[in-house]
Symmetry: C2
Subunit: 116 residues, 2 copies
């Protein structure tokens, strides 16, 4: 979920079996990249091992190339394709957040009620 001030954006690309990428999968990819293993990524995100494993499995099934590579002896990393996928997703997301800016967004922000 991209959050820019009061603006919250959830952008997904759908595949035949539901979302092929969205905010949750992007966070998983970033965590695997940072942590170097699926289990450590799950812990960093507060997800059960089962949940993150299912997300990784879904990523690897829904794209034409492998996204998260596991290594014999443990550890995991983003494939070059996974890196391009993540960067592309984040670029599009950033463009959408930037496109929201303008006088009408300023109007919307100012039109909210004052907190009680």
């Amino acid at each position: 979920m991209a959050i820019a001030g009061p603006l919250k954006l959830n952008f997904q690309l759908l595949g035949p079996d539901g979302p092929a990428i969205g905010p949750g999968k992007a966070l998983v990819m970033e965590a695997v990249d940072r942590e170097g293993s699926i289990a450590a990524a799950g812990r960093a995100l507060g997800m059960s091992y089962r949940r993150i494993w299912l997300l990784v499995e879904s990523l690897n099934r829904q794209w034409r190339d492998v996204v998260v590579e596991t290594r014999i002896g443990g550890g995991a990393r983003l494939s070059p394709f996974g890196r391009e996928l993540l960067d592309t997703y984040r670029n599009i997301e950033r463009r959408m957040v930037n496109a929201a800016a303008g006088p009408d967004l300023d109007w919307l922000i100012a039109a909210r009620a004052d907190p009680d």
Copy 2:
């Protein structure tokens, strides 16, 4: 939820008590505008009366002016402020969907796995 081909967008503007507007509230506003009453709007959206009433109450509380006006003797409609709020939300949403288009979105779409 705006859907443009395989792209799905959920854009919310947050207030102090959570989302002040998002896809669900925009649908409620459109349904009230079309149906002329909160109960009929709820039926059209397949929502319980309690659920749509809470969404309308949240809209009217979270913006500086009333959004949905109820009329003595029944019926409801969007206020002029509510109309401007809805149009502004849809304009920003449309701009975000348009901003997603480009070679990187085309790449993303083409990079999905073929259906099994």
